[in-house]
Amino acid sequence: MSARTLTIDGKQISAEKGASVLQAATEAGIKIPTLCHLEGVYDVGACRLCLVEVKGINKLLPACTTRVAEGIEVTTNSERLNKYRRMTLELLFAERNHVCAVCVANGHCELQSLAYGLGLDHVRYDYIFPRWEVDDTHRLFGMDHNRCILCTRCVRSCWHIEGAGTKNVAGRGAKSKIITDLNQKWGDSESCTECGKCVMSCPTGALFKKGSAVGESERDRTKLEFIVNAREKKQWNA
């Protein structure tokens, strides 16, 4: 493999030909904020959080889908970039119903932590408050479209790690939606292997394991009953 030499934030680094700017930066210890990027699946440049400046190019380019090239000068942190990153996050918050206070991912959410990292203390755009449903038909998992940012991490891990191809994207623009099979209820899916990789991939509370939301905790007292039974009735009913 031939190497390419480039500059990121004034630092001279070399990276393999074909590597993304994001990979090169990460290897050099330079952190670029990401949201749709997920280790192990290919990048799609969906979220625009990793936008960087490349000298001589007017457009901002996503670091995850831009390949390294000889001699390019990349800036990953500037007032202009942070302005657009914050704007992107605000639009994500305004586009669906991310009610943090009642979310299963509150405190463990990548959208939240990126927002705080950029000092987002309110959203300047009017909230849309769209109507989205929750698909809770699956035995083990649920999908809350209110909290989906359409990063497609779940789709990519379903197709390219699990190889099941259950998750897909339907529709266009803000009305796009993650679907199961041919837009069926998740509980009716014949292709879903119930592996849970989509849930693991999700950066927000859109995909979740059942049993963790408010009021869902079902008491399993079998262990307790086993010991009490053994103690009081001298019966060991495993």
């Binding site: 918050f93 206070a101 009642v102 000092g119 203390d121 309110h122 959203v123 909230y127 408050f129 769209p130």
Partner: protein, 182 residues
Amino acid sequence: MERLKIATVWLGGCAGCHMSFLDLDEFLIELAGKVDVVYSPIADVKEFPEGVDVCLIEGAVCNVDNLELLHKIRARSKVLVSFGDCAVTGNVPAMRNQFGIDNADNVLQRAYVDNAQFNPVKPTTDGIVPALLEKVQPVHEVVHVEFYLPGCPPPADRIKALMVQVLEGKTPKLEGAQLKFG
């Protein structure tokens, strides 16, 4: 130095932010030494006064009373702080917006008629229950807001961090763990 005039108001919210405010413990005594609380749900004042320096606003703008009071607050205060997630984002009260433009009527139908065991009737008598607005809004979508204090509720130390900076006349900045929704 002239004592600052502080107000706190409770619009469409659960009062959790005010509970958190009371959770400031000893700092409340320090605060009482520096400021006059001229209007608050925990002070018996009927009319929002003129010349307020800083007003903390809990809750989203949900009904006609909230709206009227908020415009009065803006006209009579120098600095407004959106206090907690309902004020900052609309939060839980704004979830009814998802049910479209008829949501106010549907919400009342659901609460007072569909789920009522006795005397199912929508509260429409004038002057008793304020009419719901068509759409619940965060405070800054209605009037200009200077500063934001997110959290559901914001923990007491976050309120203190902001208050200390505001009282010193600085532009408050919340960072790291002090900046969080939910």
